[in-house]
């Protein structure tokens, strides 16, 4: 409110912020700090923790498995993020058109998002099957001999990217759709009166005004790519795993299978540092390309 006093304003801020912030401190920050402290220890959950200083981080820097997994995560990211953003934006544009059966299509695109990876990965393993699968069958119709996909360490990551884009596109499309619907109609009317055609309207109104949503989609896709786990864990066939192991897998293995909680915690913090830096960079850059209004 214009001209409100300091104390009154602080009380209002507190009112709105308190529930969420309390949850943050108790259920997130607390455990997070605990895990930060844990990075300095060696702990196998059954015996008392043993203080080892920064040794965990030194070991991570030399861990060839971790570094290899990191490379895979980065490759995944570079392929997945642009694909999912472009595809879902296109989907959102289509869904925003006054076409019949829109509700049906929206639901159709959302079904993959809603299914769990446990069930979906089984289906995709059938689709990617080099001998009996749908994909190689379709490729064969056009004269291409399909690769080993989930059986081939060189192709398994690409298969995972395809399945992930398929699964998440509907999610991001819904985000874009909400953003598109939030653009006030007056802008379009005014543009039409000025004689702008649909491509110009897209370029000068839609795309700039959707940038807040784009920014959000970009950040969340980046973060989720770094943390991608379920599909890399469930989909590859046994002998192709070396081609698709990702950072989260290393963390999970170390925490829950090798019982090295301190080491796993330090890996998570390294990952966190990387994500943090990238996000800060994005936040800085957003001033250049994100418009909150025209």
């Amino acid at each position: 409110m214009p001209g409100e006093s300091g104390l009154k304003k602080r009380l209002w801020v507190l009112f709105f912020l308190a529930p969420s912030l309390t949850g943050l401190i108790v259920f997130i920050l607390g455990p997070v700090l605990y895990s930060l402290v844990l990075t300095l220890y060696d702990w196998n959950l059954l015996s008392p923790p043993r203080f080892i200083g920064l040794n965990n981080f030194v070991e991570v820097a030399h861990d060839t498995r971790f570094l290899g997994a990191f490379k895979h995560t980065l490759t995944y990211l570079v392929l997945y993020v642009p694909s999912v953003l472009v595809l879902s934006f296109g989907m959102a544009l289509l869904l925003n058109q006054p076409l019949r059966g829109r509700t049906f299509f929206r639901m159709a695109f959302f079904i993959p998002v809603v299914s769990s990876w446990v069930a979906v990965s089984v289906i995709w393993r059938w689709i990617f099957n080099p001998r009996f699968g749908l994909l190689n069958y379709l490729l064969g119709l056009v004269g291409i001999e399909g690769p080993g996909w989930l059986f081939d360490p060189d192709w398994v990551l690409y298969a995972i990217v395809i399945a992930s884009v398929w699964k998440d596109a509907g999610f991001v499309a819904v985000l874009f759709l909400a953003g598109l619907q939030g653009i006030p109609g007056i802008y379009y009317e005014a543009a039409k009166i000025d004689g702008a055609n649909s491509r110009q309207r897209l370029r000068h109104i839609t795309i700039p005004l959707i940038t807040p949503t784009t920014f959000f989609a970009l950040i969340t896709s980046l973060i989720s790519s770094f943390q991608m786990f379920d599909q890399a864990w469930l989909m590859p066939e046994r002998f192709a795993r070396s081609g698709a192991t990702v950072v989260m897998e290393q963390i999970v293995n170390n925490a829950f299978r090798y019982q090295r909680m301190g080491y796993a915690a330090s890996m998570s913090w390294v990952l966190f540092a990387v994500i943090f830096v990238i996000t800060i960079v994005q936040l800085r850059l957003q001033r250049r390309w994100v418009h909150y209004d025209l």
């Binding site: 059954l46 360490p153 046994r238």
Partner: protein, 409 residues
């Protein structure tokens, strides 16, 4: 005189009341029992055993906590960390060593009834540094399954107990020749099979005092080559050729002549449309067979050690438990009492069930170190590289040795 009699009676009553196992001074006790085998479709059978136990011991109630195998150990660790572990817990052999080493288990020797006829080998498997840290609950093993119809078609004699893998290869080649879609044999190339094959050739994973790995010795390399030979001679499908169909299904479909599988598949194969049987699996220089075992341990900090021990022994060695297991094909108790197994031995198929017990004469338990899962994963990656043709056996095992030595630090 009557006063003395009174005093004596009171003393006797006191003594009787203080003796364990009588119902005079029994407070109700609830025991938490954690299990991974007793989940899902086995929960009913576990319940039968529990009901029988509770009938005999009315003051004890068993509360079951279960999770599927993949999540069980995470759940268990979380419970230990939070300071509220179960009283009695099921452990497979590999994890037993880690838990025993961490000192969270109770030494059950003082509670153990020495008359219980556990197989000595099984009982020893669950000793740690001389102390009895768990009781053997079940054992199972892996045998050679063969499709009699395919053998007849190819005109090959059935496997015998003296076969070597060369004999198996010869038979596999004949069967493979029957059809493009029929394979001779499937012997998986994985950690579990490898350590057994290695033992069959006199190779051991570690030196005497477990300070160094000897996995790259010539006998071991030869064992790996024996495994790879089946793929190289095309009697066994490589990963792309098997196209995701597991060996269990291949045998079921009748598309493979021999498979090396666990005895737990008997119920699934009860109604196959062809004749089949089992035999002890072939060897190389000598024979060695899988010995898989699950054990039941007691948490060191339990508040009811005696009751926990009662339950543990009932679960692992009572006639009820043995009968329930055998009747439902739910693994075999590690008890040396042939009369319990009559039902098991007389069921068919397969007919040759004595083989299961014969395997106990040359058992090889898994090689276990503290950092067990990491060692397994190292092997999985290296074996995959060998199967994919990226590494040869010697190089792979040299690399394995280097990495395992690092784990032994």
């Amino acid at each position: 005189m009557s006063r003395k009699l009174l005093a004596l009676t009171m003393l006797l009553a006191l003594l009787v009341g203080l003796m364990p196992g009588t119902s005079l001074a029994q407070e109700p006790v609830t025991l938490k029992y954690a299990t991974f085998t007793g989940s899902g479709d086995r929960a009913e059978e576990l319940d039968q055993i529990i009901q029988a136990f509770q009938a005999e011991n009315p003051h004890i109630t068993i509360e079951v906590i279960s999770a599927p195998f993949d999540d069980y150990f995470t759940m268990l660790q979380a419970d230990f960390v939070a300071g509220e572990p179960p009283d009695v817990l099921e452990l497979n052999y590999e994890n037993f060593v880690a838990y025993a080493a961490s000192g969270v288990l109770l030494d059950v020797s003082e509670y153990l009834d020495p008359e219980t006829p556990y197989y000595p080998g099984a009982l020893n498997a669950f000793k740690y540094q001389g102390a009895q840290m768990a009781l053997p609950e079940t054992f199972s093993t892996v045998v050679l399954y063969y499709n009699k119809d395919l053998f007849d078609q190819a005109g090959v004699a059935y496997p015998t107990a003296d076969w070597t893998w060369d004999d198996a290869l010869a038979a596999a080649e004949q069967i493979r020749a029957l059809d493009d879609d029929i394979w001779g044999i499937y012997a998986p190339i994985q950690f579990w099979e490898f350590y057994k094959r290695a033992a069959q050739n006199g190779c051991s994973f570690f030196n005497e005092d477990m300070t160094e790995s000897t996995i790259n010795a010539p006998e071991c390399v030869e064992a790996l080559d024996v495994m790879m030979r089946f793929i190289e001679t095309d009697v066994m499908p490589d990963p792309a050729e098997s196209a995701g169909i597991p060996d269990t299904e291949m045998f079921q479909n009748g598309s493979v002549g021999m498979v090396v599988l666990g005895i737990w598949m008997f119920p699934a194969y009860a109604d196959l449309p062809f004749e089949w049987d089992i035999e002890l699996e072939p060897g190389i220089a000598q024979k060695a067979y899988h010995f898989f075992s699950n054990g039941v341990a007691i948490a060191r900090d339990t508040e009811h050690p005696e009751e926990a021990a009662l339950w543990a022994q009932f679960l692992t060695a009572s006639e009820t438990a043995a009968t329930v297991r055998v009747e439902n094909d739910w693994e075999l108790p590690a008890i040396n009492k042939p009369e319990y197994f009559e039902a098991f031995l007389s069921a068919t198929p397969p007919a040759n069930r004595e083989v299961v017990f014969a395997s106990l004469e040359a058992p090889v338990p898994p090689p276990v170190i503290e950092r067990q899962s990491e060692m397994q994963d190292i092997f999985e990656d290296l074996l995959a590289a060998v199967v994919n043709g990226e590494l040869d056996s010697q190089t792979a095992l040299d690399m394995a040795k280097a990495e395992i030595d690092a784990l032994l630090q």
